[in-house]
Symmetry: C2
Subunit: 567 residues, 2 copies
Amino acid sequence: MGAVQSSPLVLTTADACFIPAASALLPPRASSHVAKPRSNSSLSGRIRRVDEILEPPVSKFTSPVAQNPIFPRCLALKCVRSEMEAKNDETAEKPTLGFVEIDQGLIDQMVYDALVWSSLHGLVVGDRNVNRSGKVPGVGLTHAPFALLPISFPESQFREACELAPIFNELVDRVSLDGKFLQDSLSRTKKVDAFTSRLLDIHSKMMEINKKDEIRLGLHRSDYMLDEQTKLLLQIELNTISSSFSGLGCLVSELHRSLLSHYGETLGLDPRRIPTNAAVSHYAEALAKAWIEFNNLKATVLVVVQTEERNMYDQHWLSSVLRERHNVRSIRKTLAEIDAEGELQPDGTLLVGGVPVAVIYFRAGYTPNDYPSESEWRARLLMEESSAIKCPSISYHLAGTKKIQQELAKPNVLERFLENKEDIAKIRKCFAGLWSLEDPHIVGKAIESPELFVMKPQREGGGNNIYGDDVRETLLRLQREGSEENAAYILMQRIFPSISPTTLIRDGICYKDHAMSELGIYGAYLRNKENVIVNEQCGYLMRTKISSSNEGGVASGFAVLDSLYLT
Amino acid sequence: MGAVQSSPLVLTTADACFIPAASALLPPRASSHVAKPRSNSSLSGRIRRVDEILEPPVSKFTSPVAQNPIFPRCLALKCVRSEMEAKNDETAEKPTLGFVEIDQGLIDQMVYDALVWSSLHGLVVGDRNVNRSGKVPGVGLTHAPFALLPISFPESQFREACELAPIFNELVDRVSLDGKFLQDSLSRTKKVDAFTSRLLDIHSKMMEINKKDEIRLGLHRSDYMLDEQTKLLLQIELNTISSSFSGLGCLVSELHRSLLSHYGETLGLDPRRIPTNAAVSHYAEALAKAWIEFNNLKATVLVVVQTEERNMYDQHWLSSVLRERHNVRSIRKTLAEIDAEGELQPDGTLLVGGVPVAVIYFRAGYTPNDYPSESEWRARLLMEESSAIKCPSISYHLAGTKKIQQELAKPNVLERFLENKEDIAKIRKCFAGLWSLEDPHIVGKAIESPELFVMKPQREGGGNNIYGDDVRETLLRLQREGSEENAAYILMQRIFPSISPTTLIRDGICYKDHAMSELGIYGAYLRNKENVIVNEQCGYLMRTKISSSNEGGVASGFAVLDSLYLT
């Protein structure tokens, strides 16, 4: 979603910290799957680890890279071992996939091979140091940041996450049909969040004219973290708009398989334990099937893009597969261009530059930044009014908001949308603690122990979540002011994933550090008036982030693309 | 060879001009395939055309790009039409593949698609504006410069060129075995060219110790131009060392096929008329077969590289296919590194960093610049002394020099090396006029009409050829000085290829101009003591260069990778 879309360098996996699980302090939840309190021994074990990780501060670690626009050549391909990592060598866990036990020469060789592989196989992004790299394809390319090896992940939880995808797909569809539920749930948010308010206005207009989309396409990605202590798979968020990295994510799985096919024997790793990842093929197929449903041979797929996009190759991979394998063309337009070039025909057909549009695929429009003027909102309304298949429709978009995520976590709400009790139980099991700020009990808890919560604003775009002492201060301010601004946030339990020694490569430079990972599972859903045509899990995305914490306890550092190794 | 190796931006196709064919002025040659004098009418037609092309000077045309290190964004993806091109619209020929008759919107769309395709499929080089791009893979990437569409080329001449490959392969092998011929032919060159002299020294040493390479591997590329008037295929040079672009060249053929599969119908072009180009596969297979001949499972392929190489991805493609398809590993070392890390075992096995070397594949070592100190010459000698299969051996390297090319063009010399009369006739047919400066008659002609000749120094590296008035001045100086320096050059007939309106893309910017092309045909040859194991034509490389001429009449501008469309 927003956070991970605008730049491959903002791969947020921010919903984590390195302190004991919140569950011990939390009120009973509707589900029986609440994380269990940790024993003192494991607790103290964790705390000791955190102390180590907290020093030196992250700024020291990132400075040689972050402060130099052209990175020092001497660092290239020489793995930079942070002081922190060196300190932790003795105490760190030693998983098979970490760097601790791998010979440095072998790592250098693998890094070199991986960088070559990335260049030859299109695992690339626009280089932020090159001006035109977000506008013109083919120039200012650099490899996408990636982890050298896949992260180990328990097979059962991976399967569990995959099984959830079709249920979430259906849930989104059902919720999207309940316009009143969306409007009611978001009514307080509407008052304090201008962006959500504009989306709701469009949604209201569609309700007023009783516009129904009979063909509905969803390309979602549900993001999870694995709680280290309980091994529970907990959902971070559900992206219903602009789910990114289906293209590059597949490539990283391939890269890792290629590396293990050459080095696996030496490392004692089996490339077949990296699950097949065909996210981009499935996404392309779903788009193609939607195009077929639209039933106009002259029509195109309209990809709504930002004016600058350094992650364009991820998008181009999808368009390329769509064209090469399904012979469906796509055009790329910004919201402003759609406002300028778009028109509705009397039958509702959207023409852009005279070309009819079958499917509108949004890779922009999820953040207020994408709507700098009324022009962009006119474009969004125009598209919503059209007969084109929106991916997502305004209803799907709203169904993926954090407030709706929190509403769905309330007792007995899932039951309004799903019948199958097993499905409901499966979904509920993956919900972390989610609360509205209207709950004085939980607000009190959060002021008391802010480190156990994340405050999430409705607003998208990444980097907006509130952590640590800022949670307390913000909550106290909101209480003092007694304003309705509290409706702009939800509170979420912070999740405690395991951290492992990891080798991360960015800008041709290799870093060894402790990192945590977030698993995304892609889902595709397509239906027409009569039938569900597609409802499937499509592949996965692993993102790994350096787990260095600054003094506020907030996870920071950069994130990279990764894949997983089933254990 | 040297000229095209060091940077993808130096794709020399310099042996051409835009004035009448030299053949009318030349003495009778041994072959009956000399270009016929042109009729007056065609001559005047050509001259008129040249006048048009000569203005405005090329500096005006290239200035907006060449003088700005970060190219103006407004130029990106907007085809820059030179004044010259605009002027020529009415008079220019209108071949199917030119830009004249193609709608600008369609060209823009194709350029965009082509740039995306290049990024996703590894048609990339290091960006000269990024410091680390020649050292670290994965950073500072940009698309390789390419022509938007293939160049039309007559099928019969293409087949002819393909048929020549195995004959040239065999010729090189035979010549390489005649040490005395090499030494004698190059004896005068040796006195005035230090580089050739050092190569000959190594060659002499090998003769002294009677070292014979029983397994011999050649990966050659013979470069041709098609004389416009006579439609004769004339050889420019035969590369026996470091024949580049087998990797990227194949990709350009694929790029063009992909474009024609989408736009061919609109353009009236059939993608099947682009010949299959499997150069990189054949090269990899030949290297793998050589590796098998060496018969040491622990041995590697040693790729000798320059310290900086922006064309590294072309090389990586070859290594990658070698590894993925044949499971043969390669290591990359500079000559200095080989000097430092290399050692010979008593049985002649070359170890580099302790790893035995089966095949030495040179992508460096063809230019004096690659030997800045004695260290590099020690490495070259060490490799030559080893039992590793050299690609090329010092003999193969010498057999590809310009002086040997000129010697082979003398009457009755080919007959010393080849028996088959048909083969001899085929080879002779492709020889342009080639002369030693010892011939006073031809020197007189060249002083009289310098525009009809190219003076080629033995020295490699590109940009060293002498054209136009400089030919006259250099020849007069050599006459005055009466020195032996004339042995450092050969004289070659200048060739007059056809020029066509072409769309060229470099740095994400599209240029429309008139351009001429050079066809390279790859050949692979492998034999052991008993048998020829491989002797084949492997694929092709088309390079297209803006044909703008400066006041000296020298072809200049930049060259791009291209493919061909059989007519």
